[in-house]
C-alpha cells in the first residue's frame, strides 16, 4: 500500500487521519451501548468498567485516546490549512499533532495505571 508516490509526510498524515477516524467511528456504537447499560442494568456497567482494569484493556484504551487525540489535532491542522491560510510548515504541524497526541494519551495511560 505504501507505494513510491505516497512516501512523504503529508500522505502519512492523511492515512493516520483516515484510519483513526474510521476506527473511532467503529468504536462509538460499542461505547454508546456500554454507557446505555447505566439505565438498564447498573451492574452490567460496573462489570464492563471492571473489565477495563485489565492491563491489556488499559493498553487498548491508551490506543483509543491516542486515536482521538491524533484525529482531533490532525483535524485542527486541516482546519488551519483550509480556513486560516496557514500554508507553510504543514509537515512540522503534522508531526507536532502526532507528538502531542502521544503526550495526551501517555498522560491518560499514566493516570489509568
Amino acid at each position: 500500500m505504501i507505494r513510491p508516490h505516497r512516501s512523504h509526510p503529508l500522505w502519512f498524515a492523511f492515512l493516520l487521519h483516515r484510519v483513526s477516524g474510521a476506527l473511532l467511528a467503529l468504536f462509538l456504537p460499542a461505547h454508546f451501548l456500554v454507557l446505555a447499560t447505566a439505565l438498564t442494568s447498573p451492574q452490567a456497567l460496573d462489570g464492563a468498567l471492571a473489565w477495563t482494569d485489565n492491563t491489556l484493556v488499559k493498553l487498548a484504551e491508551f490506543g483509543l485516546v491516542f486515536l482521538l487525540a491524533v484525529h482531533a489535532l490532525g483535524g485542527l491542522r486541516l482546519l488551519a490549512l483550509e480556513f486560516l491560510p496557514w500554508t507553510s510548515g504543514q509537515k512540522t504541524l503534522a508531526a507536532s499533532a502526532v507528538a502531542l497526541a502521544v503526550l495526551v494519551s501517555g498522560t491518560f495511560f499514566l493516570s489509568a495505571v
Binding site: A22, L39, L45
Partner: protein, 110 residues
C-alpha cells in the same frame, strides 16, 4: 461526492467538537484516576443539565461528522456509489444519533 453542503457540515461539526474533545479527554484523564466505577461516574453526571448539553451536542456533532467521514471512506475505498451510498450515510447518522442519545440520557438524566 462531497459537495458544498456536506463539506460545510463536516467542517462545522469538527469545529464544534474541537473544544468538546479537549473537555472529554480532560474528564477522562481526571476520572480514570483510582479506577472507574459506575457510581462515581453517574454521581458526577446524572441530573446535571450542563453534562446533558455538553454530551448531547457532542453526540449530534459526532453523528454528522462520523456519517460523512465513513461516507467518504465507503465511496473511495469500498466503491459504494449512488443511492446506496446516500442510504448508508443516513443509516450511520441515525444509528449514531439513536445510540448516542440513549447513552447521554442514561448517563446524565435519571
Amino acid at each position: 461526492m462531497l459537495g458544498m453542503k456536506l463539506y460545510m457540515a463536516q467542517r462545522l461539526s469538527a469545529l464544534i467538537m474541537a473544544p468538546l474533545v479537549i473537555g472529554h479527554v480532560g474528564v477522562m484523564i481526571y476520572a480514570v484516576q483510582g479506577g472507574l466505577s459506575a457510581a462515581e461516574i453517574l454521581g458526577r453526571t446524572q441530573g446535571s443539565v450542563a453534562w446533558t448539553l455538553f454530551y448531547g451536542l457532542f453526540v449530534v456533532a459526532v453523528s454528522i461528522h462520523g456519517a460523512i467521514g465513513l461516507r467518504v471512506v465507503l465511496f473511495e475505498t469500498v466503491k459504494l456509489r449512488g443511492g446506496g451510498l446516500n442510504a448508508v450515510t443516513w443509516v450511520i447518522f441515525l444509528g449514531l444519533m439513536i445510540l448516542g442519545s440513549r447513552a447521554v440520557w442514561a448517563v446524565t438524566v435519571p
